[in-house]
Symmetry: C2
Subunit: 185 residues, 2 copies
């Protein structure tokens, strides 16, 4: 779905009452766009990735569906990984209910069947241009991961290819191990 409001500003978008409904809405190139429903594969991969990254037990922590508002775009990556010290807190010291307003070090997107890969790619590239160091784009249908890092061509990884993580994160994960989380037998 796309909000057919000409000249919607980022500020006006962020005031809309329904943008945190599920699936969340994103603000891309002056338009509000609702993410498609992820479905079962999406759900399991998102859960598996968050658990694996958190279990690596580093200064980084993984968060599902956290709003990132950076450079006149407001997106909700499937997984955002940031330094625990970067977590925004409210006055009482709890995690803030707002999202973040900086480019997180690592974003992960998992393609849904109805999703535009170009749009998701655009969001990842936008993050990288604003300071993100690592972007993964999972395509469950192809069982592949496109890996984006600054100032280089993306890498398309399959099978036993080891997935690169942030510096200092020991995450011995191959592409096929990740997609193995989809099996329940």
């Amino acid at each position: 779905m796309t909000i057919a409001a000409p000249k919607l500003t980022l500020q006006a978008f962020l005031q809309l009452p329904y943008i945190e409904e599920s699936p969340a809405w994103e603000y891309i190139n002056g338009e509000g766009v609702q993410k498609p429903m992820g479905g079962g594969k999406h759900s399991l991969l998102q859960k598996g990735l968050i658990a694996a990254i958190d279990q690596a037990n580093t200064r980084y922590e993984a968060f599902p569906e956290l709003r990132c508002t950076i450079g006149n775009r407001s997106i909700v990556p499937d997984v955002v990984v940031m330094d625990k010290s970067q977590l925004p807190l409210d006055e009482s010291g709890d995690i803030s209910s707002a999202g973040i307003e900086f480019a997180p070090p690592w974003v992960i997107e998992i393609l849904s069947p109805a999703q535009s890969q170009t749009k998701v790619t655009g969001n990842i590239l936008h993050c990288l241009r604003h300071g993100t160091q690592l972007g993964w784009l999972l395509d469950p249908h192809e069982r592949s991961v496109l890996v984006y890092q600054p100032d280089r061509l993306p890498d398309l990884l399959f099978g036993s290819d080891r997935l690169p993580a942030l510096d200092g994160v020991a995450l011995p994960l191959s592409v096929e191990t990740g997609y193995g989380w989809l099996r329940r037998d």
Copy 2:
């Protein structure tokens, strides 16, 4: 469609009698895969791009559906652009009916509705890693062009963004001008 032949070699693939049927078959990661039908938008964009590149009247020429066999992969990009001196000739001086066995300077792919964007992206990245200088990936649904160049992140271009061409090719083409070819009113 995918040929379910385990361990198909590139040499065996190239001997298959039907790989030049339309749509053509490609050899990717050890599998033969038939390209999907392009459809009307695909056809018009392919035609328009070839005419525009040829009319720029440089040492380069554009070719539709020319097989490129490089680095254990055999692909048929929608448009291949190469130096006229690179054209393979047969004994009689005609253009050879075989494809080329080097990475052309420029490849263009136009997404079809049924096509895997990840697979097409993989083909473009493969060409770039073997010497191609420029890759365009058109997404007619998003009216965008992803532009790939060596050793840098791709650029996602829209609207009035000017499309980069090969050095020495004066092609004053914006994204919206290109997609304007789809209108017939």
